[in-house]
């Protein structure tokens, strides 16, 4: 009885802390650049010492069905477990898991930026090396059948080794080296042994990270409450118009699926919209507009830009996995859940806003032989375009603030622990 009461009290405490903090969380970069194009821009920056947050009950998110999404699925050998989630969460924020101690998963999948990166188009990793692609969100990543934008990976457990080893991401020297880093860090002592009954190894490192990622489920959005929860006031009229267009005239739902019980907003398949084609074969010699300060722009010759830079890399999408010419420029349909938080958009981050994405679809993508037949010029007036945008803004999960606050707390724990336990990298 006493235990039960204590549990209830603890849960109540948890809930109240989460509610209090979730309100304070800004789901956008703490360094606000809205309206930066304009000379009227003013800052609205947050103080980093106040990025504190509070731990959340991630196990419940990993197991509970949220309105609008199916119940989370977990592999038979990696069932949700609070200790494993906590361990994965610790690993996700650990900057020591990179060759020079500067990159954690969270440096590209930034919590308040939709667990993506709002501040640049294509990620950069180890020593500033460029990646070809925009960092996608980790929210709801457990619902994808295949991972990465070219669908080259199949489980989250395996996926983690790509960034850990990629020379332009975390660039660890070897799998063994990652394991050694963890083994020699005092603050990991006993954690793997308790969670997995094993010392850290290639498999359980992936399992722990995957457990954390699968707990980042974020649905029960205004849209979900409206369509599946029976709350007819949850969407504005404009958003309802947008929904009608989305499933009707604009044809978005052909790829970004909405079911009768749940909506993943993805068909899990790959299509070419023409963006990749454009980069590979389109005109790339015209001058570019460069912003120098709020309201201040200049035009720069391509040659001048290239004197100090590398060329934008081609991205042949799915073709790079299969080498089948029919797969050129195909990318997996991303879920649109929480899409309002994850600008800039598309595989290369080349479209800055949801409005620019809608405009892109309105013109029918980029015409080429492999363009998906489901994409064609759309007859959408300005109001209709705005309605589509407003609809996509209704897809933000109502617990995202709680997940972000939890992530802030994880990062603060990291700073505290790592200070006590620097990794021993002494010479042999």
């Amino acid at each position: 009885m006493r235990v039960a009461l204590a549990t209830v009290a603890a849960i109540l405490f948890f809930v109240s802390v989460q509610l209090a903090l979730a309100e304070d969380i800004r789901l956008a970069p703490g360094d606000n650049k809205d309206n930066y194009e304009s000379a009227d821009y003013h800052t609205d920056s947050l103080a980093l010492p106040q990025r504190i947050g509070a731990p959340a009950d991630l196990l419940s998110f990993a197991t509970r069905k949220q309105t609008g999404l199916p119940a989370p699925q977990h592999p038979a050998n990696n069932q949700p477990d609070a200790q494993k989630i906590a361990l994965g969460r610790k690993l996700f924020f650990d900057r020591r898991l990179s060759r020079n101690g500067t990159m954690s998963c969270a440096m590209c999948h930034i919590p308040e930026q939709g667990f993506a990166s709002n501040e640049l188009a294509r990620s950069i990793g180890f020593e500033g090396r460029s990646l070809k692609r925009n960092a996608p969100t980790i929210l709801n990543v457990g619902f994808y059948q295949r991972l990465f934008q070219d669908a080259r990976e199949f489980t989250l457990e395996q996926q983690v080794w790509s960034p850990l080893l990629a020379t332009n991401e975390m660039n660890n020297a070897s799998i063994g080296q990652v394991i050694k880093i963890i083994q020699s860090a005092e603050d990991y002592t006993g954690l793997f042994e308790r969670a997995f009954k094993q010392a850290p190894n290639m498999q359980n490192i992936g399992m722990a990270l995957a457990q954390y990622e699968r707990s980042l489920v974020a649905a029960d959005s205004a849209f979900d409450q409206w369509l599946y929860g029976g709350d007819k006031s949850a969407l504005t009229d404009q958003q309802i118009d947008g929904y009608e267009l989305f499933i009707g005239k604009a044809g978005c739902v052909n790829c970004h699926l909405i079911g009768t019980q749940t909506a993943l907003f993805t068909d899990q398949r790959l299509h070419s919209t023409g963006l990749g084609f454009q980069t590979s074969l389109g005109d790339s010699d015209s001058p570019i507009t460069v912003q120098l300060a709020p309201g201040v722009f200049t035009s720069m010759e391509k040659a001048r830009v290239e004197s100090v830079g590398e060329k934008k890399p081609n991205d042949l999408g799915r073709y790079e996995v299969t080498l089948n010419p029919a797969d050129r420029w195909k990318f997996r349909t991303p879920s649109l859940r929480n899409v309002a938080l994850t600008a800039p958009y598309m595989h290369d981050g080349s479209l800055p806003t949801l409005a620019s994405v809608v405009k892109f679809y309105k013109q029918g993508g980029v015409e080429h032989e492999l363009l998906s037949p489901l994409i064609k010029p759309l007859n959408l007036d300005n109001d209709e375009q705005s309605a589509l945008v407003a609809f996509m803004q209704s897809l933000t999960g109502d617990n995202v603030s709680t997940l972000v606050a939890d992530a802030f707390a994880a990062n603060n724990d990291r700073a505290h622990n790592n200070n006590k336990a620097a990794i021993n990298r002494t010479a042999e």
Binding site: E119, Q291, L292, E306, G309, N411, A415, N419
Partner: protein, 459 residues
Amino acid sequence: MKQFTTHTLPRILAIVSLVWASAAQADETCMSPYMAKIVGQEDVVYVWTLGEEGLGDEQDKLVTIDVNPSSPDYGKVIHTLSVGGRNEAHHSGFTDDRNYLWAGGLDSNKIFIFDVHTDPAKPSLFKTIDNFEQASGGVVGPHTFYALAGKIMVTGLSNSADHGGRTAMVEYSNTGDYVATHWHPTDQDLRGATKSGKYADGYGYDVRALPRRNAMFTSSFTGWTNYMMDFGTMLGDPEAMKRFGNTAIKWNLHTRQPEKIFDMPGAPLEIRCAWQPNHNYCFTTTALTSQIWLMYEDESGEWQAKAVGDIGDPSKVPLPVDISITSDDNGLWVQTFMDGKARYFDVSDPFNPKQTYEKVIGAQLNMISQSWDGKRAYFTSSLLDNWDKKGEADEQFFKAYTWNGKQLELEFMVDFKAEKLGSAHQMRFGAYGLYGLPRPWEKPANASAGKAASTDAAN
């Protein structure tokens, strides 16, 4: 300009700095007024050098170059000290006693503290600080190392929460112990500062002090994401181009509190304060908008900031990077990276700078260090590893010039690529006289110090 008057608080500081200033002729003019000075000719220049993939041992190193024309090794690299890794070597600065040179890595956040007093020709690694990010509470990118009395103020460029531009200054003791983190004011927490305009971005870059006015100034650049990114890629990324600092801040030197935030659009970088006791002003230049800005104390004792001139054609983005003020405050050297030019501005009227001279130093150009008498100026090429030019234009050099007031004359250069050293960045001067040591080549032949130095010189 307002005449210098002694207020209560700055009085003690003013006296201290005057004592030092009168103690000797200083070396380069960009140093802290708290610092011990070199008498006369500098003997060596320490070049904090970035390791380059595919070149030599591929890692960052401190390169020591003999620059004393009377030395048998004049013009030669006499010592190199590799530190491991490509840390994004950038700036360095001495402790006030000038015994140690602190050099930072903008990427790895390591700070290497070199002993330069035991043998100025052969610096040794005294200590490495490798918990800067954790100790400071999340500051990333140790940039400027600025000597205060018994302390080193380290400016950060970024943070480990989002690798953006919000950051802090981190204060250390001379022996490398963490003292405090001073966050730059943001809208959420102005920390008592006043916004004079629209911005409180919380960004940082350089720091300089004017002790007699109890004032400290900081400028603002960009976070890790941008300074580590391929430069061309960043220019083509509209999101990234929004992430530059647009502010400079006047701080209370004594209390370390920010007092006034100035709007200064387009990434103000290096700050150089005037030396003359009645010159209460500092210059800075904005990298992206190519303007010279003056922060000055007005008639009523209030600090103001004003754009006082353009550098080249701002629409072409010449990218002014390092600047250096002459010790009489009459001249300001401004280096523009994109066209490789050193430009001399007459700033005898600080409100009306006039460019009077320019010379192309190389295909790209960043840093300058000039002697106190202004007769010698040294230049290096590298800006940031991923911002430097690509291909042939990626010249990497150290060039020593003399300046007669009208012309720069090249005395010698060290080709950092041919010598397989890396990319040459910041320079600091060293001299035997500072530590009461004789110059080795002026000593009797049997002295051991002389022998060590000449053995060294063999490479």
